[in-house]
Amino acid sequence: MATTLTAAATGTRPGVRRPTPGRNYARRYWAFAAPGAAVVLAVIVFPWLFTIVMSLHEWQPGAGTSWVGAANYLQLFSDADFGWAILRTLYFTVLAVAAPVVLGIAAAVCFHKRFPLRGLARTIFILPMMATPVAIALVWMMMFHPQFGVLNYILTSLGLPPSEWTYSAATVIPTLVMVETWQWTPLVMLIVLGGLASLPIDPYEAAKIDGASGWQTFRHISLPLLWPFIVVAMVIRTIDALKSFDVIYVITQGGPGTASTTMNIFLYQQAFSYYHLGYASAVVVVFFAVILAISLVLLGLRQRAKWQ
């Protein structure tokens, strides 16, 4: 009935067989997505495909190009610098996922409670993740200065030994993780806070009646229910930590020496310092495979959480 009404209303010629409304529209709604799809194809999909083609070539601007097959990849796997860059990236990523996730869960539990000026406190808390990364990286860089930096002043006035921060190979990665944690804990907090808001209240009332302590309630009720949200936060954090560039590049440019040359910094140097564009494209492909693999493993965790 509805079909005929629509047909009459839109003035379609009678006799033309019309499919069911859902189907009918599904195809036409694609027209809405067409311009967006064209843009995505041009600026996102084209670069992906072109990168794969380039990774199979020796490609330097001005010097022409030549097909080299898998040579870039073979060179990459025997490149010790690249191996170290991967290890550094994994070291950085493990710390830069663990710290914000643990702190972010704690922060979400705090911000879930009611207290005066909560809105303002939460806004101040999320400022680091919205601020321009280059700007905050510069401020941290000035705070890390071993001689004049305010952080060493704070440490010494608390009676602690001063640190070398980003000026020593041993402390540079943990120091950069500290900045990353400062910057991205708010995102984990927001995701977990969304999870806390969606929790049912019945289990908590039952726990209260049974006399469970705050920690027991959190450990045995909140944490399992929040697990899917925590996994999402972990996936997002992992992707962002692997991709981290701005803060590292501004503060250390991969130094001292190569102590903080992560995969992304290595990629930047190959592509835009040495203009080894073919080689850099191979780095991109491997880099992307690593990100995809880790994300899928973590998303597998989420599926398992759903089944339980």
Binding site: T6, Y25, A33, G36, I44, I136, W182, L190, L292
Partner: protein
């Protein structure tokens, strides 16, 4: 007696909560206040040890110096052109796209957006850099606007899919039954209802475009730098003077911080909408 103990415990919990909140927000507050402090002090105070915390007297000389020495006015205009164009274009193609994807329930298209988010920004740059070089477009703002679409389009599409999926379909269906075309149903029914979503998408796309550093540093020439690139250049040329550096950092990130303070509800809504799916 038992009542009393309960009260004490509650009070203890309250104090613990306030202490935790204070511990959570003070690192954020401290870094931004320290940036403000550095930008308002003269060089002698900035290099003093123990550090001077409160500028006395505060000076605007660092801001004057930044704008006088580095042509920051031009870079501010560049940043405005790039971020407004990239956000505007993204809304133009991304809002209908979000609608189309939400209506056809094309989850695979949505996955594409997710994978785009996973790809490091640098990986888009190598092919696009070559393309722009080949087209002779380097040295203008156009390639920078185009590459910023890599950031803004996925944000807009992603946020809009969520909003359009959340809208009740009945009103549009009623409009269609009454003889509206699907374009009219979109334009006059769905679009006005999705206005809060469009606000969220606009703010997020604008901020992430404004903050972007990596595309600018590769593609921008002397004349076409965006603000984050310009600030980085202050660093390489004047490594020692902290005052102008902090002032430049504040010029770049100040607008974003103010926008966040004003629109925190929308920003939180947008970030969590994308995250928990």
């Amino acid at each position: 007696m038992a009542m009393n103990r309960h009260k004490w415990r509650k009070l203890g919990g309250r104090i613990g909560l306030y202490a935790s909140v204070l511990a959570l927000i003070s690192p954020a507050a401290f870094v931004f206040l320290w940036m403000l402090s550095l930008s308002l002090k003269n060089e002698v105070d900035n290099m003093a040890f123990p550090p001077v915390f409160i500028p006395h007297p505060p000076t605007l000389a660092n801001f004057v110096k930044v704008f006088a020495d580095n042509d920051f006015l031009r870079y501010t205009i560049n940043s405005c052109i790039v971020s407004f164009s990239a956000t505007g274009l993204a809304l133009l193609v991304g809002v209908p796209a979000g609608y189309g994807v939400a209506k056809t329930k094309a989850t695979r298209a949505a996955m594409l957006i997710l994978v785009a988010r996973m790809t490091p920004g640098l990986s888009y740059l190598i092919p696009l850099f070559l393309l722009f070089q080949w087209l002779g477009m380097l040295g203008t703002l156009t390639p920078i606007v185009i590459t910023h679409l890599v950031i803004t389009v996925p944000i807009v599409v992603w946020v809009m899919i969520g909003f359009f999926e959340g809208l009740p379909g009945e009103i549009e269906e009623a409009a269609l039954v009454d003889g509206a075309t699907i374009w009219q149903a979109f334009r006059y029914v769905a679009l006005p209802l999705a206005r809060p979503g469009i606000t969220v998408a606009t703010i997020l796309a604008f901020i992430f475009s404004w903050n972007n550093f990596i595309f600018g540093i590769v593609l921008a020439g002397r004349e076409t730098r965006t603000l984050p690139v310009a600030v980085y250049n202050v660093l390489t040329f004047e490594q020692v003077s902290w005052g102008p550096l902090a002032a430049a950092a504040l010029v770049v990130t100040g607008p974003v911080l103010i926008l966040t303070l004003l629109m925190q509800k929308e920003i939180v809504a947008g970030l969590t909408a994308g995250g928990v799916k």
